[in-house]
């Protein structure tokens, strides 16, 4: 099994479990490994929760699912609430910058993942389906990232869904056009 950590603003890994044990990280450090649906604080991930002395048990149940997708880390500079320092020790967790002893892992819900821009499909739809709808999808892709960078995670997600629908609509229209275009193009 390989593990990835999000430290100092970037994703690091893969590490073996033994390597992982040599790296200073806190209960708040996002971790991801195969089997997790997304990044989660190391204090909550089953493979590492035990290192932090059952602190995950202190979390309200409603918050315990605040995992973010793999790639959240790479979403940009706003991932600052997932911070740690290289002087931290997993067993104490007191030196992480986001850590306060009285409120364990209170900031783990800080950053939501950047939803897919779908820009690749938008470009493909623009080129292959030959309709301005693809350009609308490209425009909406800029909304996904700009909203996400402004912390409007819900708006970013909605924009992401809009790009998806514009692309699907482009493809459907393109497919509907194909037989018509064939007749005009000549068999």
């Amino acid at each position: 099994m390989k593990y990835w950590l999000f430290i100092d603003g970037r994703q690091q890994g893969p590490f073996s479990y033994d390597e992982l044990m040599t790296i200073p990280f806190t209960a708040e450090t996002p971790i991801w490994y195969e089997g997790l649906s997304g990044w989660m604080p190391a204090g909550q991930a089953p493979a590492t929760a035990a290192l932090f002395g059952g602190m995950s048990g202190n979390r309200p149940a409603g918050e315990s699912t605040s995992a973010c997708n793999p790639g959240t880390d790479a979403c940009g500079d706003t991932a600052t609430s997932w911070t740690t320092t290289d002087t931290g020790s997993p067993s104490h967790g007191t030196s992480g910058t986001a850590w306060t002893g009285s409120e364990p892992m209170r900031r783990t819900d800080g950053v939501a993942p950047c939803p897919p821009t779908n820009l690749g499909w938008a470009i493909a739809a623009t080129i292959c389906c030959c309709i301005p709808l693809g350009v609308a999808a490209i425009f909406m892709a800029t909304r996904v990232t700009s909203r996400w960078q402004n912390g409007d995670y819900d708006g970013a997600r909605r924009a992401s869904e809009t790009t998806e629908w514009l692309i699907i609509l482009s493809i459907v229209l393109g497919l509907l056009w194909a037989p018509v275009g064939m007749m005009i193009g000549g068999f």
Binding site: P116, V135, T142, W177
Partner: protein, 127 residues
């Protein structure tokens, strides 16, 4: 590390579509018909950003890179960029550095502007 179900289905469908297109456009020369005419060109008389792609694909599959380039040089930029976005968003745990660059609003906006610029320029310059 494993792709989710939806991504897998999309990847398989896309691979099949590409393979089918490769076989079709290898066999058929779109310059002589046998291929759908661009919707935008037909309806407006102006070329879309992708016009020439079918002929370019035919030329490319026959090793004629010069012709493929002349039919639509923009494809050589747009398709790799599209591929990069699709790959990075399908596998968010890989290529973190590339992903960081690609999901900047400035990057997305620049790519959008390039598409628009190419679209307008090719119609003005007759490319």
């Amino acid at each position: 590390m494993t792709l989710n179900r939806r991504t897998t289905i999309t990847a398989v469908a896309a691979a099949l579509a590409v393979a089918a297109a490769a076989i079709y456009y290898y066999t058929v020369d779109p310059a002589e018909g046998h291929a759908p005419r661009c919707m935008f060109l037909t309806l407006t008389g102006y070329r879309c950003p992708g016009c020439g792609m079918q002929r370019a694909l035919h030329a490319l599959l026959h090793g004629d890179i010069a012709t493929a380039w002349s039919l639509n040089p923009f494809l050589w930029f747009a398709l790799p960029v599209a591929g990069a976005y699709i790959a990075v968003e399908a596998m968010p745990w890989r290529l973190a550095g590339l992903r960081r660059v690609l999901i900047r609003t400035s990057t997305v906006a620049a790519i959008g502007l390039l598409v628009l610029t190419w679209w307008i320029a090719r119609n003005m310059a007759g490319l």
